[in-house]
Symmetry: C2
Subunit: 96 residues, 2 copies
DNA sequence: TTGTCAGGCAAGTGCTTGCTTGCCTATCCT
DNA sequence: AGGATAGGCAAGCAAGCACTTGCCTGACAA
């Protein structure tokens, strides 16, 4: 749903995560935690980041694939493009 | 701030309000209430809509101008374009 | 097999939010 | 003046959210 995407984007930590994934796609949870701390100055715990990733995945902005004990996170910009199409370019005339 | 815009857009009622203002700009609070009820099937009270308008104004998505006892609400798409520029087209490389 | 590393589950907490209720101010019309 | 109309203020409430804490599972290496 469109609302889920906006809700996901409403949090600065989640935007930082997307930022990080854009910079280096396919990171694991621990990688993300480390780089968010150093590069973005965020001190989020692993669980917090994990929950944010769940939200992002729920919004379709992040896809995951597990290999062995590692879970890689990939950025998916499709929902963003959908939003641009319906909400921010035209603008559109159809329902939410 | 960018986060305020996303937060404002995260609520379906607020998106409906923007929708309505896009359809007919410069509506008053009562007008909006009436048209949200009939055209969008929403049964929001006046106060609820008023508070949503405050949020939208805080995000810069709506500007107001008062004349006499009427307060007209105007759509402002600038924050949307800013978001498209920094977040949804390129993508950008700078900070939140 | 035992330890370590990557990640998951779930209850609890404090803050925010969307909304209601009730009352108040200001403007206009007659 | 007096009523009707357009809107504002503020306290209260229930649900949602971001985050923590503590413990658990599953994969790999020694």
């Amino acid at each position: 749903m469109v609302g889920d995407v906006f809700k996901a984007l409403a949090d600065p930590t989640r935007r930082a995560i997307l930022d990080e994934l854009l910079d280096r796609d396919g990171q694991t949870l621990f990688e993300l935690c480390a780089r968010l701390a150093t590069k973005h100055g965020l001190s989020s715990t692993r669980q917090a980041v994990s929950q944010h990733l769940d939200v992002l995945e729920g919004a379709g902005l992040v896809t995951t694939c597990r290999q062995g004990r590692y879970k890689y996170h990939h950025l998916n910009t499709t929902p963003l493009h959908i939003i641009v199409e319906r909400w921010l370019s035209g603008h559109r005339r159809d329902r939410t």
